[in-house]
Structures are given as structure tokens and as C-alpha cells.
């Protein structure tokens, strides 16, 4: 399982990477952590004629905080993101999701940008991006544009990134709200495997324990991760009583059109979707309730 031959260049900056992308046409790929790209190259499922290595670009490795948003450079390691205490406090879903991502070795190389750009439908970070309405900053030789997560994940392994674009950084909204709770869960065959179904939620409660803001999403159906803003809005004002929770979760599961594969049938995935939506919303609620 040796990859087909390719040329290798290192970009010293994002601008240089974009220039290389523009020049080289469609048969080039960017490589950062390589955790998703390399297996595909080893199996010769993909055979770029050139790899542009952006992994050493320091400007793409950072964690910074703005007023309402946490910014992560595209090449920031997943393990660095999981370790960061400030991120754990301000964007708790990232650490929670990363606990389900692969294994320690893959998180030490995999990057946050790589996961989003690869867009595996069962990956965890794209789901978090959807649920938090993350903004994805992409650069090309023509300039920079910001893409909302909502339109970013077009389909399995397909994003809205143009061929000559390089993902530069991701902006993660930080929720204010004293009583904010969040949860991430998934069912997979083994620990660390891609999710059969995954779910994540974030909720804010008022002093009476009523929901004032909610967001949740589901993934693993084989297409792209989904968030459910309209359904989440139905939770506002409630205390996530059984009736409203069940109806929101089942409506969300019905919106999913999962495929089946050798690991899980479509029917099982749909069933799991409702179960996990309820679990993750309840867990987020319980965490929020535990806050003074």
C-alpha cells in the first residue's frame, strides 16, 4: 500500500499555498496532518500529482479569543485544541467532541481544518461546527471569504471550498449565558471509530431552568451533519419536558435520510438518531441546570 508518486512542495505561508494551488490546477492537494489523506493515498484511491504541505505554516497554528468568538488556525492540532483550558471553558463542545475522535496518535497529527475540509459525514468536528454555526475562513489567490458552517458541508467528503481555496481559520461562537450546558455523544462499533450516529447539543437556561437558547445536531447518516435551528427553537421556554423533547427529537430524526452500510442499517441509524438527540439534549440540560 505505497502511494503513487507525487511531487512535494512546502508552502511558507498561506498566500504562497494559494498561489501554488492556483498554478497547479486540479490534481494537487494540500496536506497538513494527513490522517485522512494518507490512507486514501496508500490505497491509491486518490493520487494527486503534487502535495502542498501547509503543516509547517506557523501562522495557521493558533488559538485566540475575540469578543464573542474563539479562533483556531486551520493547522492547529486536534490534541492542542483538546488540551486548551480556555477553549474548554468557552467552547466546551470542542473538547467533548474530541474525546470521541480517533485515538491519541491521530489527534496528535490531525488538524481542526483538515477534519472540516475532509468532511467525512461521520466525523465529529464538522457536527460541532454546524451546531455552533461556526464561520470558516478560506483564502484563495483572489482573497478571503467567510463561509458559514450551514452551507459548508455539501455532502459526503464534499465542502463548499473551491478547488483553489485553502482553509485558513475557523471562528467558533462563544455563548454567553451563565447557565450553559453542552453534550456530545455517539454510537460507534468500537471506541474511536467513525460514528454510526452522533449527536451534539448546547443549551442556555434562565434562572428558573427554562431554555432560552438551544442548538443541536445529528450526524453519521452518510450525507452531511445536520443542525436543526427551527426544531431547537421549539425548546425555548420549555424545561425540556418529555413531550416536547420526544417530539423535537423524533422530528429531527425524521429529517435525517441515512443510508445503510455493512455496519448499520438505515432503520437502526434513524432509531439511534432520535435516541441520541434526546440523550444529548437531556445531558446538556442537566449540565446547565447544575450551574448556579
Amino acid at each position: 500500500m505505497k502511494a503513487a508518486s507525487f511531487d512535494y512542495v512546502r508552502a511558507a505561508s498561506v498566500a504562497e499555498a494559494c498561489e501554488m494551488l492556483r498554478q497547479d490546477g486540479d490534481d494537487v492537494k494540500l496536506i497538513a496532518g494527513g490522517q485522512s489523506l494518507m490512507p486514501m493515498m496508500a490505497m491509491r484511491l486518490t493520487r494527486p500529482f503534487r502535495l502542498i504541505d501547509i503543516d509547517q505554516i506557523g501562522a495557521l497554528k493558533f488559538i485566540a479569543f475575540g469578543e464573542n468568538v474563539a479562533r483556531t488556525g486551520a493547522c492547529t492540532r486536534q490534541s492542542a485544541i483538546a488540551r486548551d483550558e480556555a477553549l474548554a471553558a468557552h467552547v466546551p463542545l470542542l473538547r467533548k467532541a474530541l474525546a470521541w475522535v480517533g485515538h491519541v496518535q491521530t489527534r496528535n497529527r490531525g488538524t481542526v481544518g483538515g477534519s472540516l475540509a475532509h468532511a467525512d459525514p461521520a466525523a465529529e468536528l464538522p457536527l460541532v461546527a454546524r451546531v455552533l454555526d461556526a464561520q470558516i475562513v478560506a483564502r484563495s489567490d483572489k482573497g478571503t471569504r467567510t463561509l458559514p458552517a450551514a452551507g459548508f458541508f455539501v455532502g459526503p467528503l464534499t465542502t463548499a471550498l473551491a478547488a483553489h481555496e485553502c482553509l485558513e481559520e475557523i471562528h467558533w461562537p462563544m455563548w454567553s449565558g451563565r447557565r450553559t450546558g453542552s453534550a456530545f455523544t455517539e454510537v460507534s462499533r468500537r471506541h474511536g471509530d467513525f460514528a454510526i450516529v452522533e449527536a451534539c447539543a448546547q443549551i442556555v437556561l434562565d434562572d428558573d431552568g427554562r431554555c432560552t437558547r438551544a442548538s443541536f445536531g445529528l450526524g453519521g447518516g452518510g450525507t452531511a451533519p445536520l443542525a436543526f435551528p427551527a426544531l431547537a427553537a421549539r425548546l425555548n421556554g420549555s424545561m425540556l419536558e418529555d413531550a416536547v423533547l420526544q417530539s423535537v427529537a423524533h422530528d429531527a430524526a425524521n429529517e435525517l435520510d441515512p443510508g445503510g452500510d455493512l455496519h448499520a442499517s438505515a432503520g437502526y441509524r434513524k432509531h439511534l438518531a432520535a435516541v441520541l438527540a434526546i440523550r444529548v439534549l437531556r445531558a446538556a440540560y442537566d449540565e446547565a441546570r447544575s450551574k448556579p
Partner: protein, 163 residues
């Protein structure tokens, strides 16, 4: 037309090596075939089994999922680098022998790297923490039981030595 070769400088187990390699040569193939450090093994070449685990700049990674050119300028530690300076087994390796934490030995180098990485940051790991740390290293011989025992044993011994 032959393949383009790229210069690569790696510090492996404290020793600086230079080589000229094709871009497509994986780090594990570079370690094994160019540098003749055959203690690191290949099990799947698609990033699942963990037999190829090495330390890169102090953290465990899968060397089958890196090209050697990507490791240029970096520090690598392989299983051969876990021994004492005089070549005798270190405490972790010796604990693996004491608890018979291996049989065929093929996954062992990767296991040692994963366990070594864990013990760098968690001094007295629980069973659960050990299993999580080696969760990306597959073994078909041991059922993991004696490996967990060995890591706990090593942690206790390292603790006694104040490490």
C-alpha cells in the same frame, strides 16, 4: 524517469540522520529501510493498528500516516530509543518482561511508545486511562490484560524512583 529525491534530516533516538528519499516514502518505511531501525513495524498502512507508533517531537503518532519528508527537521523516538544508554531495557520495557505483556512481539514497539507517552503525563494511570492510551494499538496475542498490568507496574516503579 526515476523519482525525484528530497533531502530529509531527522533526529532519531538522539542521532542526526540525513537521507534523500522519494516524497512518497512513508516515515515508517524510512525508519525501517533507510535507517535500518526495524523495531517499528507495519501492520496495516492505513492508520488503524498502531504497530508503527513512534514519538514525534515528544508525542505519539502513526508513522505510516506521515511521509518522511513531512518529518524533516523533527525529532523521532522509536522503541530502540526507549532503552537505557547502555542498551539495557528501561523500566517500562522491563515491566513488560516482568508481566509477560507480549507474545509475538509485533505490536509491542507501538504499545511501548503509547505507554511511554502516557506515563510522561499521567504518573499513576487507572486501568481505564491505560486502556484509552493504548486504544489505538491493536494486539491479537495478549488480550491486553498483561499489558495493562505491566504499565501499572512500570508506573509504580517509576513513582518509586521519583520520576
Amino acid at each position: 524517469m526515476s523519482e525525484t529525491l528530497y533531502p530529509v534530516t531527522l533526529e532519531v533516538n538522539g542521532v542526526l540522520h540525513t537521507a534523500r528519499v522519494p516524497a512518497r516514502l512513508s516515515l515508517v518505511d524510512c525508519l525501517r529501510d533507510e535507517l535500518r531501525l526495524t523495531g517499528t513495524h507495519i501492520g496495516c498502512e492505513h492508520g488503524i493498528c498502531g504497530a508503527c507508533s513512534v514519538m514525534l517531537d515528544g508525542e505519539p503518532v502513526r508513522s505510516c500516516l506521515m511521509f518522511a519528508v513531512q518529518a524533516d527537521g523533527h525529532k523521532v523516538t522509536t522503541v530502540e530509543g526507549l532503552t537505557n544508554a547502555d542498551g539495557t531495557p528501561g523500566i517500562l520495557q522491563d515491566s513488560f518482561c516482568e508481566k509477560h505483556a507480549l507474545q509475538c512481539g509485533y505490536c509491542t514497539s507501538g504499545m511501548l511508545i503509547a505507554a511511554h507517552a502516557l506515563l510522561q503525563t499521567v504518573k499513576r494511570p487507572t486501568d481505564e486511562q491505560i486502556r484509552e492510551a493504548i486504544g489505538g494499538n491493536l494486539c491479537r496475542c495478549t488480550g491486553y490484560q498483561q499489558i495493562v498490568d505491566a504499565v501499572k507496574h512500570a508506573a509504580a516503579r517509576l513513582g518509586e524512583k521519583g520520576r
